[in-house]
């Protein structure tokens, strides 16, 4: 089993933290994982990319993920810059942080191949409600857990508790809840899709 993830977001959205959390969750489940940041300009709002490899075999490569199975798009305005879907596997999945419909996203440039799948989750909206700030990354990890099945929601929860151990309890609780709510949104979306 190999899951190569690429996360696109903006400085300040926790793009690197998201990759680290995902690697912690995978490790927690007994898988091998590697989180790699791609340090560009570390300015708030600038495009940032991070990578996470998850595998049932030890990981040796240290190159960037250029053929992801899963792309997480923390900010759909990044579609304008292009490159977000580069190298996405023919059966790859894109998890998009948005309140818009897939049709509206297609209009904005998110056009997928026949075998590729899009999952949308209003992570920023959820984050405003629970955290009072636009930090979509933990919600998106809940969505990733729902989509892939290779990393469980419980493992994501343990990763959040571990990574945010020194933070106030209400911040931890809100992030756990964010992952859980986004997980539920995606599961529901998928059930409707299959119904």
């Amino acid at each position: 089993m190999t899951l190569d993830v690429r996360i696109h977001g903006r400085g300040g959205q926790g793009v690197v933290t998201a990759a680290e959390l995902l690697s912690l969750a995978a490790f927690d489940q007994g898988l091998h994982a590697q989180a790699l940041p791609s340090f560009g300009s570390e300015r708030t709002g600038a495009p940032v990319v991070s990578f996470c490899r998850i595998d049932d075999r030890p990981i040796r490569s240290h190159d960037p993920v250029d053929h992801p199975n899963l792309v997480v798009l923390q900010d759909p305005t990044l579609l304008r810059g292009g490159g977000v879907l580069d190298g996405l596997a023919d059966d790859g999945v894109v998890v998009v942080n948005t309140s818009r419909t897939p049709a509206e996203l297609a209009e904005a440039g998110l056009v997928l191949g026949p075998g590729q799948q899009m999952v949308t989750v209003p992570a920023t909206e959820l984050s405003w409600r629970l955290l009072g700030r636009p930090l979509p990354n933990t919600a998106l990890l809940g969505a990733v857990a729902a989509v892939t099945g290779s990393v469980s929601l419980e493992a994501v929860h343990r990763a959040i508790r571990q990574r945010f151990a020194s933070r106030p309890i209400d911040v931890i609780t809100a992030n756990l809840r964010l992952a859980e709510d986004a997980y539920a949104v995606v599961i529901q979306e998928q059930e409707q899709h299959h119904a």
Partner: protein, 399 residues
Amino acid sequence: MLRQVEGSRAVADAVARCRPAVVAAYPISPQTHIVEGLSDLVTTGDLAPCEYLMVESEFGALSACIGASAAGARTYTATSSQGLLFMAEALPNASGLGLPIVMTVANRALGAPINIWNDHSDALSQRDAGWLQLFASSNQEAVDLHLQAFALAERLSVPVMVCMDGFVLTHAMEEIDVPEQDAVDAFLPAFAPRQWLDPDDPVTIGAMVGPGQFTEVKYLMARRQQAALADIAEVAAEFESTFGRESGGLVRPYRIDDAEVVLVAMGSALGTAADVVDALREEGIAAGVLGITCYRPWPHEAVREALRGIPRAIVVNRAIAVGSGSILGQDVRLTASPGTEVHDVVMGLGGRPVTRAGLRQLVLDVLHGRLPRGALHYVDLDETVAADEIAREAEVTVP
């Protein structure tokens, strides 16, 4: 115990378990997380007794380390890029005085143009400073090399640089085992300096040496460096028998036995190259990798033996010697038997990633004779950009 942790943090933990009595460092990306980690461990008391020195510069950091080491303390520092160059004046003092200082170099390009990303220009610019230079291929090896570095430094009375790729390793989160304290203590006993500065029993360390003896002193230094090769291999073997994993040593061959082409590289590109080799072998191409773990002293015999009978070697240089050519490639060319055709390429400067696709294409290009022989080849150069600039420069007339 395996933990999923950032490379820098694991190195900080490993260094702390080596119980340095003095840490002096100045922050510079991408090394900073390591010394921040050590600073935390000193603050919490997890690393004690230890004097953590806040210094005003890298020059100050290494100078403080030299003083502390001469006073008999196990001493550690870390730096990157121009920070290492700022230490340059003091580097040959540390080696000339035989001080067993251990330093992490989080490898980063040299400016200008300023660039914070990874290549090997910094460490290779100091290859002749008399320090041992060991290159980590993974974060696990980076951790393990620090244990071995202190053991080697103190056994040989020589300073050691542990080189690890900046960002690619320092900022990667991976599963890493940092050996437990009692295991580290058993592998690395307390530092017993051969001589030290003691006001009650005064000695001179660092006296002036004139033309009468200078050559002999340098000759003995060079001889000791060569002799260190045996110790580096021995300490790696001791490490493997203690901790059950292969780390360090001189060279790391991978599937080179019947190989028609071998990639020669250092650092984090080795894992990527190993994956490329496995994929090529599945297609029936007999490729291999020769990792150089110990760059200084240069393991001439080990490299020569490993490449014996190999028709083609491709040296992946992550630094250049402007006005001359390659650095690692020159060592390999001087070492390989005449029967090995050595291709010398530049790749991955200033943070440009060394990718599986790039290495695979490189091997295929060499096998199909598409790479010019004899000249240094810039594999990932954007020739359009370069050609435009060359044309523009040609048009500029100097008044």
